[in-house]
Amino acid sequence: MTCTDFLAKLTDFFDGTVPPELLAEVEEHIAECHHCEVVLDSTTKTINIYRNQELYDFPPELQHRLEASIMARCFGPRPTK
């Protein structure tokens, strides 16, 4: 397996959908090719870092304001008591 072949299989590898007969070849390539091992490790870390960070806060005040606006737009203003 070449580095290009490995890259072509990277998404399937992350998804766990590499066919069993190819999986051994992919793992063998990672074990032998330091560059591809680094690419795999740092790409995995890239995904995990973004997945673990809430980059844009959504405070309760904003949520309440948006929900009130959405409901008013869909159903009209709520009657006040």
Partner: protein, 218 residues
């Protein structure tokens, strides 16, 4: 072997009816509290998707309102062939790309604009990363780096990465939300992931000792 951490999400077994189906049915019958519950369940996700694509907070607020209003007016068109959340995300992506288009009046922004380049498919930086790159920076600084880095991705790549890797949609759901084929999603996702990796590498890679010394002597 590195592993992608999967966030814990509520899952529905294939033969179970998703609870949203009943809520949508009630909302179609005019039950406002059912629609309100759907808004509460998904407004955070829709806001996050819109902000990731547009990179603008005010736009994300407007889009979130537009998405739910549009969903309400077109509720009859929702057939339940996909998840309600995927249907909402699809509306959010379309609204967000439309915003970007309006912002760049002279330039078309579409899911196809940035797919013709091979750049991003070829890794160039092969330096190893620190074992826990998150620990290199304070929380605020790390968030700034991540925001700045994803902002630099072309919109089409940013959108695919957001849906698949941040929102944890499956490849099939991402394809459905974007109106793309599964192979197209896989191809763009690979490029998006590799481009982000390359850009983050400058912050997270291990410096070799000589470079570190050189840096200190300046």
């Amino acid at each position: 072997m590195p592993a992608i951490q999967s966030p814990e999400t509520a899952t529905t077994k294939p033969d179970e009816v998703h609870p949203d189906v009943a809520l949508v049915a009630r909302a179609k019958d005019g039950d406002t509290s059912a629609f309100e519950q759907l808004v509460r369940q998904y407004d955070r996700q829709i806001f996050r998707v819109a902000q990731h694509i547009t990179q603008n907070r005010e736009d994300a607020e407007d889009i979130t309102q537009d998405v739910f209003f549009k969903a309400y007016t077109k509720l009859d068109q929702f057939q339940g062939n996909s998840k309600f959340s995927t249907w909402l995300v699809r509306i959010a992506v379309n609204e967000s790309l439309m915003r970007l288009r309006k912002r760049k009046t002279s330039k078309t922004v579409s899911m196809d604009e940035d797919v013709h380049t091979e750049e991003g498919s070829i890794p160039r930086d092969f330096a190893e990363w620190r074992p826990n790159p998150e620990q290199l920076y304070g929380q605020g600084e790390l968030s700034d780096i991540l925001r700045k880095t994803i902002q630099g991705l072309p919109p089409g790549f940013r959108t695919v990465f957001t849906l698949r890797d941040i929102e944890n949609l499956s490849t099939e759901e991402t394809a459905e939300a974007l109106g793309l084929s599964v192979p197209a999603v896989k191809s763009r996702l690979l490029r998006a992931r590799l481009q982000l990796r390359e850009r983050l590498s400058r912050y997270f890679k291990q410096q070799n000792p000589l470079q570190a010394l050189d840096g200190k002597s300046r």
